[in-house]
Amino acid sequence: MEHAIEKGHSIPLTQPIAALFASTMKRPAASATNAFCDVCGSTWAHFRKSGRLGCPSCYDTFGDALAAQIILAQRGSVAHGGEAPRQSSCPEGHQLLRSQLLRELDAAVGAEQYERAASIRDRLRTLTGGIDAP
């Protein structure tokens, strides 16, 4: 590798994300191995393979096994230490999105775009559930 560096050729200085996770990974708990996210359908196996989660809810679905991976990838950091978004103390953004979704749902139903209407309904349902409620 040093030879390649000195010649100025392609340098494998960082591993692909998936390899990073695969090589540092302890075997996850059985519950995580079998788990899938009931919001987006992602599985733990999909995450292991791609290094990507499917939706915000996956962070809770995969619980401790995922937490262990995040802490490894983040070099020991265990929790967010920065700012929260402004709207967390002010639900205006949430409501704006909700009212926008309701308007879009009306429009989709009016235009007989049922696939789109179903997708909007799914999102409204997720919003009311609230994955980041304390």
């Binding site: 560096i5 994300i17 989660l53 995040i70 950091s77 230490g81 978004p85 967390s88 953004g93």
Partner: protein, 358 residues
């Protein structure tokens, strides 16, 4: 579609510390609450995300008035123009599914919708301008947050498709020109050092690319646990000054021990670029890197660093074709156009008179 003179970054501007720092970039990753991430979203959802984001900006009193480029409707050449200017990644330019890039008129700010995350806010500046780039990215983040609700977790902060971005979603990076560390065979030490400091180092144009012309991108690896301000402060005030000092010391050492060779190399590079009639992209970038190095050492006059920065973009394939639409598009014509552009640009470059005394 775009004017290179409109670019604040590539129009030949010199930034602070530009002898070593080519460009600074700050990127924030955000996702909308209530949607699957891009890799699990269907086309309908992805299109809705674009509409919601564009609508949020249009309704804001602080709309940055971006020009929107819909990847699906751009020609391959137009997409490559955006890639060559570092406004979008290769992955973004060529992926499937609805995705759109908003670009400010000075091209210093871009908003990518449906890249790996729903939103990638990126600010680009010439030279070392971490604070300025961070301020610009944060300002757009705040405008978006006025009307959009981001996916946020009490423990993990801003949620991202890949957990390597979770927390702040912040990646601050600098494109560094480190020719002397390469010549002095210090790159393995640099590699070990940056790993120790939890930094990522890559070749030009990001992931999977090669370090053409001695250009390296260095960025923070850890996005969780520190505030965005702490990450940018450490990067701008501790890490980069150290790497800059190291490269400058290597340049000083190189010049004091191999001055005659350095002058000879500069003269040869000028000679080749002033007379070559065919030139490939990789060769052009390598030679421009050496010219950049020689200008930084004070060995070349009649050419500014900013002009080299402009050329690094202008010699790339899509830009060449775009600048001369009437020209034939076969490989030999492209190599000929590139050589011609470089002959014109280097016409007034000479080895500095005082430098020939060794």
């Amino acid at each position: 579609m775009m004017q290179i003179v409109g670019s604040k970054v590539w129009a030949g501007e010199d930034g602070p510390e530009s002898d070593v720092v080519f460009t600074t970039r700050v990127r924030l990753a955000r996702n909308l609450r209530g949607f699957a991430f891009v890799n699990r979203a269907n086309a309908v959802q992805s299109s809705e995300i674009i509409r919601i984001v564009q609508g949020a900006l249009a309704h804001s009193a602080n709309d940055p008035r971006m020009q929107w480029f819909d990847m699906a409707t751009l020609s391959p050449r137009e997409r490559m123009l955006l890639v060559e200017r570092s406004l979008v990644s290769h992955q973004f330019a060529h992926a499937d599914g609805p995705r759109s890039a908003g670009v400010s008129t000075d091209e210093a700010l871009a908003l990518l919708v449906n890249e790996e995350d729903h939103l990638r806010i990126q600010a680009l500046r010439p030279g070392l301008q971490v604070k300025e780039a961070f301020a610009a990215a944060t300002a757009l983040d705040e405008v978006l947050a006025e009307r959009l609700e981001f996916a946020f977790h009490p423990r993990w902060g801003f949620l991202t498709a890949c957990p390597t971005n979770v927390g702040t979603g912040l990646r601050v990076s600098a494109m560094l020109h480190l020719p002397a560390l390469a010549l002095e065979r210090q790159l393995p030490r640099l590699q070990a050092g940056v790993k120790e400091l939890n930094l990522i180092i890559r070749g030009f144009q990001g992931e999977g690319s090669t370090p053409e012309g001695g250009l390296f991108q260095i960025s923070n690896q850890v996005t969780l646990g520190l505030s965005a301000a702490e990450i940018t402060d450490t990067f701008a005030n501790t890490i980069l000054p150290e790497i800059l000092a190291w490269e400058r010391a290597a340049r000083h050492h190189y010049l004091s021990t191999q001055r005659a060779q350095a002058v000879d190399r500069a003269a040869r590079e000028i000679g080749v670029l002033q007379s070559a009639t065919l030139m490939g992209r990789d060769e052009a970038l390598k030679r421009l890197g050496r010219i950049r190095h020689a200008i930084g050492l004070g060995l070349i006059e009649g050419m500014a660093l900013g002009e080299v920065n402009r050329l690094v973009v202008a010699v790339q394939s899509a830009h060449l074709a775009w600048a001369r639409p009437a020209a034939a598009t076969d490989q030999e014509s492209e190599r000929s156009e590139r050589a011609s552009l470089l002959r014109d640009a280097l016409a007034k470059a000479t080895v500095t008179q005082s430098s020939s005394r060794s």
